[in-house]
């Protein structure tokens, strides 16, 4: 605590700006409430946190930004989902079982990458087809059946 500027211990007695104090308290209470579950099980769990995060990276909590997974999102619903994954792991559920449970509970939107079924198959098949087509073009070029890329 060596900063030269004014410092106070937590609790902020006599803080001059009540609105700032209010905001700080609001966020503290919000975060504490949303993370309360984490506080409860933080000690003494049998499943490692890393296992939870590895699995959480395969799921996208509803309401989180589309590019963040349950492992990286910092919204409350991500914390809740991580807790749910932890409970399922502690119950001895396997990865496919957990996937089945979460999909039945939330639908396919819970997956952070579409399953290769229905329209979701396109997202996986098209890149594979593109790479295959590129390799065919490469073979044609080096075999001299067509001029190199037409040029």
């Amino acid at each position: 605590m060596t900063r030269a500027c004014s410092q106070r211990r937590l609790g902020f007695p006599g803080h001059s700006n009540r609105s700032v104090l209010f905001r700080i308290m609001f966020w503290i209470v919000f975060l504490a409430a949303s993370l309360g579950a984490d506080l409860v099980w933080a000690a003494g769990r049998s499943v490692s946190w890393q296992e939870v995060l590895d699995l959480a990276s395969e799921y996208h909590p509803p309401g989180c930004p589309p590019t963040l997974t349950a492992a990286t999102c910092q919204e409350k619903q991500a914390y809740d989902l991580r807790l749910e994954i932890l409970r399922l792991l502690e119950d001895g559920k396997s990865r496919p079982e957990i996937r089945q449970i979460l999909v039945s509970e939330y639908g396919n939107d819970i997956l952070s990458a579409p399953p290769p079924t229905g329209i979701g198959i396109l997202v996986w098949a098209v890149p594979a087809a593109a790479v295959a087509a590129g390799l065919v073009v490469f073979v044609l070029i080096v075999r001299g059946r067509r001029p190199p890329s037409g040029g």
Binding site: Q7, D38, L39, T67, L68, T72, A130, P147, S149
Partner: protein, 662 residues
């Protein structure tokens, strides 16, 4: 000052229109006077865009809150650096920056003495003028930076706290310089099509432009990654966000172009492919601008919704149809001079490299737009997140790394499998013990072993190139090893600068692999005096406190870091609470070493009990990504640095009367 800027912008549209018409008609009709007046219009346009830009910067610095843009992106308590950075921190300002840089580039290209200037210049100026005119029209209509507020405010909203980071002042600027830079090779490609002279001249002229744009884009991506790592607080640096993808896609096609242009320069082939790549790269830069402004994607980088997205998408469509239509028109001419590519040769390795780079760019594009496609078809937007991108791009990246080694040893024109295999034998046998060591230290994951083995293998191939070149030079000249190495690189800057960039890429891949696979994370609740272990470290919470700073209150904690029973430093993560009500921003504390990064975020607290919740990450070798970035910059600069003979050539050309211009 605002009126000066507004009128400069309005005038710039007319001057740019004149520049396009005069240059295009002058070239088409062979009217030298029109071409010359088009050149002076390029200078005038650059001057007007500079006036407009400097006016906006002046308004931001002086805090003139009568203007909407100033009120939206600055505030009285904002420091000078961030007031200037606010110029590109918002939608209108960033578009004005684009226009400013583009008109400056146009003026430089128009007056630069270069090979084939008389033939290409009017078309190049006209093409760049069309792009600049588009931006000028947008700025004069739907994205006006000099819009006045109905009533002047006393203070502004301030710059987004997430953008108040030194890295964030550089990241957008370098990214824009990269994006805008690709306009120049694009304009030359179009000029080559118009003139029907698509030999390697336009590639030689634009090689440095392409490399400079590529360097800026690379720096922009790396700065962006570093900003995300240090500011966003989730322990990572890349989340496959649509706007991140928008910067990666042109980088991938541009990297393919930089390699394939070498083939055309050496062998006169791949002409259509090179023009197509440069069109794609330019279009992807505009597409990136569309992504940021369309509002159809969620992104931490997005500016706003509104008509801009539709306008940019229309422009992308016009560019694609126009440029590829031109390419189709010239197809027979370009096709006729094609030469075959031997199956085993440096050319074929470059073609395969191009296939992989373009496939990766397409994959990223597909994954980025797929949610919008599903929304259009099913009415529900599907999430395509990091697991998709990681799964699909990782094998392509490993293949590209391996190809980097194989392509290095393959000979031009024709080689044999036996010869290439013989050249790779020594690096291969060096890789085997390295892989055994990796297994010995506990790495069992096959994908990780493949990635690390590829890095060692290609690293050995590349280092051997330096070694063989140096040894040959020592034999010939009797120089010492350091002198021979420096002179070798100095005399073949393009080649060895490129090899340094290859090594830089290996370092980056190493950092990505190790931090991605072996990164650890934990959440812990601590009260003063508590100790938590993370890898080889022990962290002791000393305490938490608060302090006031201009515009914000700061809550912070101090953690003593110990290793092997020795104190090695203090980490101080913070949470910033802004007086203007903006969302609180965590300030990450990082202890970075070449071995690992210890990364601590204050995720929450229970003030009544004095407990703090921390997220602690241990990211092995992540800093090697940044080291690779520094080496990438150094290697590209070496590759860009003009050789003495080129400098003499420039001096000769610049001698008055040495060249006759139209």
């Amino acid at each position: 000052m605002g009126d000066l800027g507004r009128w400069s912008l309005i005038l710039s549209a007319f001057v740019l229109l004149y520049m396009v018409v005069a240059s295009a008609c002058g070239a088409w009709k062979g009217k030298r006077r029109w071409v010359v007046s088009g050149r002076w219009a390029a200078i005038a346009a650059a001057g007007l865009a500079s006036l407009a830009s400097l006016s906006l910067i002046g308004l931001l610095v002086t805090g003139d809150f009568r203007y909407e843009y100033v009120a939206d992106y600055t505030s009285r308590d904002l420091g000078l650096l961030y007031r200037i950075a606010a110029f590109w921190g918002g939608n209108q300002g960033s578009l004005l920056l684009w226009l400013w840089m583009l008109t400056l580039y146009t003026a430089v290209v128009t007056f630069a003495r270069s090979e084939g200037r008389d033939r290409f210049q009017p078309y190049v100026t006209a093409t760049l003028g069309v792009v600049a005119l588009f931006f000028s029209l947008v700025l004069n209509t739907v994205a006006q930076p000099f819009q006045l507020l109905p009533a002047a405010g006393m203070d502004g909203a301030g710059l987004n706290p997430l953008l108040q980071n030194p890295g964030m002042t550089i990241h957008p600027l370098t990214l824009y310089l990269g994006y805008i830079g690709f306009s120049v090779p694009f304009a030359y490609g179009i000029a080559a099509l118009f003139t029907g002279r698509a030999d390697a001249t336009w590639l030689r002229v634009t090689r440095r432009w392409s490399l400079v744009a590529w360097l800026f884009l690379s720096m922009g991506i790396l700065y962006g990654a570093r900003w995300a790592y240090e500011v966003l607080g989730w322990g990572g640096y890349w989340s496959w966000d649509p706007v991140e993808n928008a910067s990666l896609m042109p980088w991938l096609t541009a990297t393919a172009f930089i390699h394939s242009s070498i083939v055309q320069e050496r062998k006169g082939t791949l002409k259509i492919w090179n023009v197509a790549l440069v069109i794609l790269t330019f279009t992807l830069t505009i597409f990136g601008t569309f992504l940021t402004r369309s509002g159809i994607f969620w992104s931490v980088h997005a500016f706003s919704n509104g008509p801009l997205g539709a306008i940019f998408l229309t422009f992308v469509g016009i560019v694609l149809v126009g440029a590829f239509g031109l390419l189709a028109w010239r197809w027979p001419l370009l096709k006729s001079t094609a030469q075959p590519v031997a199956p085993v040769s440096k050319e074929s390795s470059f073609v395969l490299n191009n296939v992989l780079f373009v496939s990766m760019a397409f994959t990223v594009l597909w994954g980025t737009v797929f949610p919008v496609i599903t929304r259009g078809i099913t009415g529900r937007q599907m999430v395509v997140g990091p697991p998709f991108f990681n799964t699909v791009t990782a094998p392509l990246a490993v293949a590209l790394v391996l190809l980097m080694g194989i392509g290095t040893v393959a000979a031009w024109r024709h080689s044999t499998v036996r010869r290439v295999a013989a050249s790779l034998m020594t690096p291969f046998f060096l890789t085997l013990p390295a892989v055994a060591i990796f297994i010995g230290v506990g790495i069992r994951d096959g994908a990780v072993l493949a990635a690390l083995g590829s890095i060692v293998f290609v690293g050995a191939v590349t280092v051997r190139e330096f070694g063989m070149g140096t040894a040959a030079r020592m034999r010939l000249t009797g120089e010492s090893a350091p002198v021979a190495l420096v002179r070798l690189v100095g005399q073949q800057r393009r080649r060895y600068g490129g090899y340094l960039v290859h090594i830089a890429v290996l370092l980056i891949v190493l950092g990505i692999t190790m931090s991605g696979v072996y990164g650890q994370q934990k959440q812990v609740v601590m009260k003063p005096g508590d100790v938590v272990a993370m890898g080889p470290y022990q962290l002791v919470l000393l305490g938490s406190a608060t302090r006031d700073e201009p515009g914000r209150a700061v809550v912070y904690s101090q953690l003593l870091v110990r290793k092997n029973d020795r104190s090695i430093g203090i980490l101080q993560p913070e949470d910033w609470y802004f007086l203007n009500g903006a969302q609180p921003a965590p300030q990450v504390a990082i202890r970075s070493t070449p071995v690992d990064d210890l990364y601590v975020v204050m995720a929450g607290m229970d003030a009544t009990q004095g407990k703090v919740l921390f997220e602690i990450h241990l990211n092995p070798m992540l800093s090697w990504i940044w080291y690779g970035g520094y080496l990438l910059v150094a290697g590209t600069l070496i590759s860009l640095w003009p050789a003495r003979s080129a400098l003499r050539e420039v001096e000769r050309v610049e001698t008055p009367g040495a060249e006759v211009h139209p």
